[in-house]
Structure formats: structure tokens, C-alpha cells
Assembly symmetry: C2
């Protein structure tokens, strides 16, 4: 009645469940992500979610897909806002990726935890990760043509960058480097240093 799509009895329960699921992950952690808790927060019975998701896995998958959509949108926006040369746009999308992960830890966790889903190897997951890598390979290739990045197969270069970025945000989000945060560096500074380091690793010339 307020503003939602207001479809049936509840009014877009599906979306409400996805929101609740994300909240749970953010507040209690992924191990507290239970169908019943999600239903509780949405104010419906514990079996209601099964009208929208056949499975707990399918609910999680839906959250993951939403997360990837948001990530993709964020990266595109930041890319479009960057200077129009290939190198700046590449760097911007990399930064956008890191910032997305740090600003939406709950989303990033579901998207890459790998422990939340029962059957490891869902097709959609590989597909989305694959897409990110493909985009990055294209960016690197453009930068190479402009002489801004060392020549060579762009695939391992993209993999190296993705590895660094993914590793950094995973360590930060999982609280594995808390003791570093007591150091003279802020999180943003460390982010910059790590990103700079890996960009130098592929022979990128900073503007």
C-alpha cells in the first residue's frame, strides 16, 4: 500500500524476502541465514518463502544475482564517470569493484562465499565471474594497444588483478587483517597501495 508493487496478499513478498536475507547476512552473518528467520523478518509464516523459491539455495542464488547486477551497474557508472581514455576507465572499474565489496560486504559475502550453497558449481556463478574476467580482458587489451600496459596474454594479467582485488577484499571483509588497521594507514590508503602494486605488476603506467 505504501509504495511497493503491492501485488497479492503481501505485496511483493519475493523482494521483501531478498531484502530480509541480505539484512540477516549483514547482521547475524551467513550462518544465521535460515529460511525461517527470513520469513520471520518478512512477517510471514516459515513456509511462505517456498511459494517463491523452491529451495534455500534458490533464495541465495537470487540474492547473488541481485548482487552481481548491482556490481555491474556500479562498475558501469564509475567507468562512465571516468576520463574517456582506456587506462583511466580500467582503473576506475577496478576501484569500483573494490569499493563495491567494501561498501556491500553482505552482498560480496553471498556472492563469493562458496560455502552457502550446497552444490558447488552453480552455472550462474561461473557465468557471472567469467563475465567480469572477460570485461577485464577487453579493458587490458585496449590498454595494451595504447601502450599503457605491458604486452602479453591479457588473460593471466586479468587473473592476477582479479586475484589481488578479490583477495584483498576477502581478507578485509573476513577481519583477517584487523591488526593492520591499527597501523598508520587508513583502509582507503591500503586499498590504494594494494591496487597500485598490482597495476604495476602488469606494467601499467599510472597517469
Amino acid at each position: 500500500m505504501t509504495a511497493a508493487k503491492a501485488k497479492y496478499h503481501h505485496g511483493d513478498l519475493r523482494t521483501a524476502l531478498l531484502d530480509a536475507a541480505l539484512d540477516v547476512i549483514g547482521e547475524i552473518g551467513p550462518q544465521g541465514l535460515t529460511i525461517r528467520e527470513v520469513a520471520r523478518r518478512a512477517g510471514v509464516s516459515h513456509a511462505a518463502p517456498y511459494r517463491h523459491f523452491t529451495d534455500k539455495d534458490e533464495l541465495i542464488l537470487a540474492v547473488v544475482e541481485r548482487g552481481f547486477a548491482l556490481l555491474q551497474r556500479t562498475m558501469r557508472e564509475r567507468k562512465d564517470a571516468a576520463p574517456p581514455d582506456a587506462m583511466h576507465q580500467f582503473a576506475a572499474s577496478g576501484m569500483a569493484y573494490v569499493d563495491f565489496a567494501l561498501n556491500h560486504p553482505a552482498y560480496y559475502r553471498v556472492m563469493f562465499s562458496g560455502d552457502l550453497l550446497s552444490s558447488t558449481g552453480h552455472v550462474s556463478l561461473q557465468h557471472t565471474s567469467s563475465e567480469a574476467l572477460q570485461d577485464m580482458v577487453a579493458d587490458i587489451t585496449r590498454c595494451q594497444e595504447l601502450g599503457m600496459v605491458r604486452k602479453g596474454d591479457p588473460v593471466p594479467q586479468a587473473l592476477a588483478i582479479l586475484s589481488t582485488i578479490h583477495g584483498f577484499v576477502s581478507l578485509v571483509n573476513d577481519n583477517r587483517i584487523q591488526h593492520l588497521l591499527e597501523n598508520p594507514y587508513t583502509l582507503d590508503q591500503m586499498r590504494d597501495m594494494v591496487v597500485t602494486s598490482i597495476f604495476e605488476g602488469i606494467g601499467a603506467r599510472t597517469a
Copy 2:
């Protein structure tokens, strides 16, 4: 009776449970890691584990500690086997880390999943990760003194390397880059390229 310590009724049930837990993670995945399944595999009742671990978390923690001990031992061995100069030893320990993660995916998963334990932020975890970073910082400092690595604060350099390595093995172990394995590269080749890339990122001179 065979060879185990043969202590009480069962004969070192604690160790048997840890072994079983690791097996479960390797075979079924972390979501199949239940106290009851572990007990089943050890051939005891589902409540027996509570004589050795107060909690499911404590069992997992014990597996994690074992994993870190094995990792530390592996790295030390490979370091000792490398040529005695600082640079080779540093590279050797980095490679050892990667190989450990790829050869013992179950251990690595428990050690770094972050979703298996209910309370995120167990002290022991931060401690062990912190140790690895401290060691790396020491190595980098030695290499810097020898002019083998670019001068500068070694902490962000170590963090960059740890991020890359952790990210790479996480992506591989979570099957996020399967489509790359169909490429002309073997896993070992990709490992070498990624590690080389990040080492160049900190201005390391390869021998």
C-alpha cells in the same frame, strides 16, 4: 590397537574426529560438516564429540589450528630447501603457500572460509593470519636490504602479495575460474604467471 595412541575406550577419539571432519569437508563440502556426521564416521554416538569439544565451533577451530600448523611446517620446509639467499627463500615460501592451498583445499577452506564459525573474529584466527604477515614483512625487509625489492614500507607490499595469493587460491578452490582451465594454460602455469606478476608489482628482481 593398531598404531594409534590407544588411550581409552576408543583410542584417541579426538584425533579421529578431526580427521573425519576434514574428510567430510573434502567430500561433501563445508555445509555437510555436522557433528553427527563426524561422529558417524568415527563410529561413535552423536553426542560423543561433546566430550572432546564443547561446541561445533571448537571442533572447527581445532581443525583450523591443525591446518595452520601444517601450513607453517610446509612453508618452513620449502624455505629451508631453497637456496640460502633471502630472495629465493621469500619466493619459495610464497610458492609453498599457494601449493599448500591447492593441495589441501579442505584445510584451506576451513582456515579461511569465515562462514563456518558462528562468531566471526575468533582470536586465534587473527593471530595466525597476523603471524603469516609478520613473517612476510620480515622476508621483504631482508630482500629490500639486499636491493632485490623496491624500497618502501614492507607492510603494504606484504599485504598486496598475501591478497594476490589468497585471492588466486580462493578463486581456484571455489571453482570460479573453471572456464580458464580450458585455456592453453595449466594450473601450474597460471599460478606461476600470477605469482610472477605480483612479485614484479613490488619491484622484485627475479633471479
